[in-house]
Symmetry: C2
Subunit: 442 residues, 2 copies
């Protein structure tokens, strides 16, 4: 290997890397690449791996170790980069690094969502920086934009597609009319979904990321458990077809909105009007729409996963820290990008008072008088019906698909109506209840 | 006014404002707003205006002065914010402020494009920061993203819609089929175009902005005069209609691309495939598409002008400087966001070797043998024709519109062919020659 490494320069920041999988190897290659304009600012001193024997192209093998102490305990390391993933030991390693006065850069959304407060406080106590741009939106620099460029704005809302796997599955169901199961299998065969797809399709991943965004944008510390979460397992090819007939597509959206009452966070599939940009984010792309009081809407779109985009975000954080180190008198008092400067933390409000339009799909007995019974349930719950469409009946079972679009209604009322619809003798099943994300309100 | 002003705090950065038009007044209001989380970091000490008598809602009148020295010479001012616009005296004031060791934040694309090298060097010599996020893309934080978050990437290309006026005119011509003149008049009546629209419609404004982007993204100092520039005056409603029939729309694009040979910059109307996001940026919106070697494509879209978005960008710069001031030991050696760290400045290459597809509209004599003569001109210039469409003839004059799409061809050859087409006896006029911006190559 013709790489020239600069092992210890007085003006280079020492970097220790935890993890050398696909992302970690890419970060290592960027760090040792000889012809970059930042090569002299950084010095990679050690790489922690689980399995030393695995081949890693372009990664300096003499730096690889299986002993965490050789990376975390190395005094030359000013910055620890954690790209091993998972909750433990990643969390413990990061906590130890911060306590030892080292800056930490991580791509770990799970640890950030679960231990964000603890790690943020540790960073502040030790006068170091905790950065995690890569944990949300892959290479899209959404955290830096919120914290830095949009600093003078009060952020009013965030709407985002921040899980590439589910977006790929929904896009492919829409395009080919395939079932959820087939689209998921396709995503798995292409490497876009894990063998166990739970974290993605049940929206845990999107909830972690929304919790991180909410902390930064609104200064609200939201427990991921407290965020309304619905995945995409129950979306059928039918729903995409019916939504299309009504002028919508279906996306898994992560939404946070702040008003005088507090912050409302939710992750669920939503009907999105086909003419807005969010409807045209297809495949594994991610997109984030921020609304600032000065700026208005800002739209960011890019690759939400993969080695290159993640390494781009990780290295952005590393270089920002290195720059701060060499323009400061010492290590002390660097700003912590995880801490909010808001004095009053807003309340996190629940779903009951949400007012949106709803798409309701019922499998109903195809006979006279059904609509009257169904409509009276909506009426009793003070929900006004905007349109009813009947779609392809299942003659064998004597059932028809009834698709009802409501006017904006209160979530609690809709849930009450849903419960009563399920009990109706003319309703075989309430097949789906999907919220509409309207775009004229912003 | 119930504003509580904090006139001099030891940990507040003093700010002097040059200009209090629409943007300046908005910046002043944000600076003195009492309930922001950055209020304690900044102290507004003076506002230079031309006309003191003009009403300015929410702007502290006791700070307003017509004497430049009262702002530029005020020792309390650490940061000078220039939002007066125009070349002079803005340029001289900024130079004076930098020489006096003050940080400068500006929204002035014209001064930056023309005097960028001089001001960048002055900032470096005096150990202060020159920031100009607001000069490109309004509130879209494209400069910070390039310099900070994407720092580890080699930027490969930039494609942007960075002039809202021309984008509004083209969108409205497409939507309503109106002429350039009518669409421009509409833009003027809505306040989206100036009484003298030259800077916008002849693409001077977009060229200034592309020159600034090129400096930051590629470390190439490009004289705005050296950038290929075509405005939109020659685009007819017909061209938008024909382009639509071929699956394209027309946008004024600013494009910079870097390869082994150097950097190529150009601003001209381009055919954009209707299915890509760039085709759907309508009205006064701006959009920037960056391609980084690690990240891949990143898409940013938002409001490119207006008081709020511009103030958002200006304040982002101001707060970044203030943060740096209070985490540093002193003023010295702050990084300069205008200076490139590239060691070798790439060559700026001209248009001759550009290879793109072309849309050619001819008014041709509607008779036998015309196409053979036209085709032989293309053949002689080694340009391969992809399709020929004949559109609504002008029976009175015996003319037909011939729309020719070429395969990718060399610019110099196309210009040679254009010259020869104009000389053909069967061609009444070469009505338009528009480059196609293809999207599969990135």
């Amino acid at each position: 290997m013709a790489m020239e490494r600069q092992l210890s320069s007085p003006s280079a920041a020492g970097v220790g890397l935890l993890g050398a999988g696909v992302v970690g190897s890419q970060v290592a290659r960027v760090l040792v690449q000889p012809d970059t304009d930042f090569r002299h600012l950084l010095s990679l001193n050690g790489i922690l791996v689980r399995d030393k024997s695995r081949p890693r192209d372009g990664v300096p093998s003499d730096l690889i170790t299986t002993d965490p102490e050789r990376v975390l305990g190395d005094d030359r390391n000013d910055i620890i980069v954690e790209v091993m993933g998972g909750e433990e030991p990643a969390h413990s390693y990061m906590a130890a690094a911060l306590k030892a006065g080292k800056h930490v850069v991580t791509a770990n959304k799970e640890v950030l969502a679960k231990y964000g407060d603890e790690l943020t406080n540790l960073a502040a106590e030790n006068g170091v920086t905790l950065s995690y741009e890569a944990s949300v939106g892959g290479g899209i620099p959404v955290l830096a934009v919120i914290q830095d460029s949009l600093r003078a704005n009060r952020i009013e809302s965030i709407r985002a597609i921040i899980n590439g796997t589910t977006n790929f599955v929904l896009s492919s169901m829409e395009e080919s009319g395939s079932s959820f199961e087939d689209a998921l299998a396709e995503a798995q065969s292409l490497g876009y979904a894990e063998a166990d797809p739970t974290a993605d399709v049940d929206a845990h991943d999107a909830v972690y990321k929304l919790s991180i965004l909410t902390r930064l944008a609104f200064g609200a510390s939201v427990n991921p458990e407290a965020i309304h979460r619905e995945g995409i397992r129950h979306i059928g090819a039918k729903d995409l077809r019916y939504a299309g007939a009504l002028g919508f597509t279906i996306k898994l959206l992560a939404i946070a909105r702040s008003d005088a009452n507090g912050v409302r966070c939710r992750v669920h599939p939503a009907l999105v009007p086909v003419e807005v940009p969010m409807a045209n984010v297809n495949g594994v792309l991610n997109a984030v729409e921020l609304n600032g009081d000065l700026l208005g809407p800002l739209w960011l779109q890019g690759r939400g996963a993969g080695a290159g985009p993640t390494a781009s975000a990780v290295m952005g954080d590393v270089l920002r820290i290195a720059k701060t180190m060499f323009t400061q008198s010492g290590k002390g008092q660097s700003t912590n990008n995880g801490s909010s400067t808001r004095e009053i933390e807003p309340d996190v409000i629940d779903m009951d008072d949400l007012r949106v339009r709803y798409y309701v799909r019922l499998a109903a007995i195809d006979k006279f008088g059904v609509l009257a019974k169904v409509a009276s349930v909506f009426g009793d719950a003070q929900i006004s019906i905007a349109s009813v469409l009947q779609f392809d009946s299942d003659d064998e079972r004597g059932l028809a698909d009834l698709v009802i679009m409501t006017h904006p209604s209160r979530e609690a009322n809709m849930q009450e109506a849903a419960m009563r619809l399920r009990q109706l003798d003319v309703v075989a099943s309430l097949e789906n209840l999907i919220r509409v994300e309207d775009y004229d309100e912003v």
